[in-house]
Amino acid sequence: MKICCIVSLALVALSAAALRAADLSVFAAASLTDALKELASAYESESGDKLLFNFGGSNALARQIKEGAPVDVFFSADEVQMDNLAKADLIDPSTRADLLSNTLVIVVPKDGPGELTPAELTGPLIKRLALADFRSVPAGVYAREYLTKLGLWTAVESKVVPTENVRAALAAVESGNVEAGIVYKTDAAISKAVKIAYEVSASEGPRISYPVAVVKGTRNAGASKRFLEYLKSEPALAVFKKFGFIVRQ
């Protein structure tokens, strides 16, 4: 009798554990902030899981994952950072997906010029240019790649104010402390204090890719994979499109 009781209690406990909602820790690029926050509420009510985001420069996030931060999903703004983690065997390669792309734009404060071409960035009107740190943060790396391709990088480099992530570059332009900045089109879209002065077309711009993957050390493999599947679903992609991301099909 007693053994029966213990066993049934154990079974109840186990099933309860299986049904208990997961808390997913998601490290994502700063440019994904608004889109992910919007989809989070829908996902949370649908799945019962809770999403805990950490937004920042993808390089800083990758660094934290390398140092052993307890993370379930990594959503990077470039391949380089994801590759770094793959090389260190920290992600589950079978779950890796290249979901989104983005467009680079040159932004200026609301009261700035209506149009500003890349070549004009070398001119005297532009004293300071905000970029996410071009040595490591994806947005900055893409911007440098683009300007180098145009042969403008050396002329522009001395004007660059490197920021911690792309949203910080956006904030610098919003504050008026710099004359221009290069950010993603999706960042410019959510800001009311800047306007787009130039859009880098997909053909002339760098290849931008946002890979996502489940991190190997996760304790919630099932819930993490469910979340990734959700990100590929129609409702999620619609949210990304709404914010201006390019969906790769």
Binding site: P162, S175, N177
Partner: protein, 224 residues
């Protein structure tokens, strides 16, 4: 250590020195007022002076950003009339260091002044000395070791300043990168070896500065 790294150390040292000299007259003057005078609202002043010591440095940095940025009255004024940019330049580095280390200078100098017996100053006045002469010939000479100790400590604080600096001066290679900011950015880039070297330099500098300051504090004996 590469030459670029030594340049960063040199830059940080120079900016901290500039910041310390800039706050010296104000800090010593305010310390004297706090030590010798009383007025309504004195406790408010004391609290305000101590704030940068206690507030999160980034919060102080944010205030500086708003106050010195282009859109602020001060920033706009400087830009229009002197074509002077504050934020994202070495001037912002000096400003951040000055604000963050000011409380330490005031504290050290105030203690030094309080240690000078007012009786000595009183006797000097009866002997015909003006307030300025009393300050220059009695108060200052007797307080100078404590003031120097406070300055050295404040200089050390300026050397290590990070939170406010990175916000208001950014991390512009070759222009505003200080020792602490370079350690941070090396870590961000994964250059641990570089970060560690700079870490050693900053520990050595801090150790020497604090040790010197403590030694000076010990040697400044109160007036006989």
């Amino acid at each position: 250590m590469r030459s670029a790294e030594w340049e960063i150390v040199g830059f940080t040292f120079a900016m901290a020195l500039l910041a310390t000299f800039a706050i010296l007259p104000f800090g010593v003057g305010l310390a004297w007022l706090l030590a010798r005078k009383s007025w309504p609202g004195k406790s408010v002043v004391e609290t305000l002076v101590a704030l940068p010591l206690v507030m999160p440095p980034v919060a102080t940095g944010l205030i500086l950003l708003k106050v010195l940025g282009r859109k602020s009255p001060i920033g706009a004024f400087l830009q229009e009339h002197f074509d002077l940019e504050m934020v994202f330049t070495w001037r912002a580095v000096v400003a951040a260091m000055a604000v963050m280390s000011f409380p330490l200078l005031v504290r050290g100098a105030r203690i030094a002044f309080e240690a000078v017996s007012p009786r000595l100053e009183q006797v000097a006045t009866t002997l015909g000395a003006t307030r300025l002469r009393v300050f220059m010939t009695i108060t200052l000479p007797l307080a100078h070791r404590g003031i120097i100790a406070g300055s050295v400590l404040s200089f050390a604080r300026a050397l290590g300043e990070f939170g406010a600096t990175i916000l208001v001066a950014g991390n512009i290679p070759g222009r505003t990168t200080t020792l602490s900011v370079s350690i941070y950015s090396d870590i961000q880039l994964g250059h641990d070896g570089d970060a560690f070297r700079m870490l050693v330099v900053s520990v050595v500098l801090a150790f020497v500065a604090v040790w010197t300051s403590e030694w000076l504090f010990r040697r400044s004996t109160p007036a006989a």
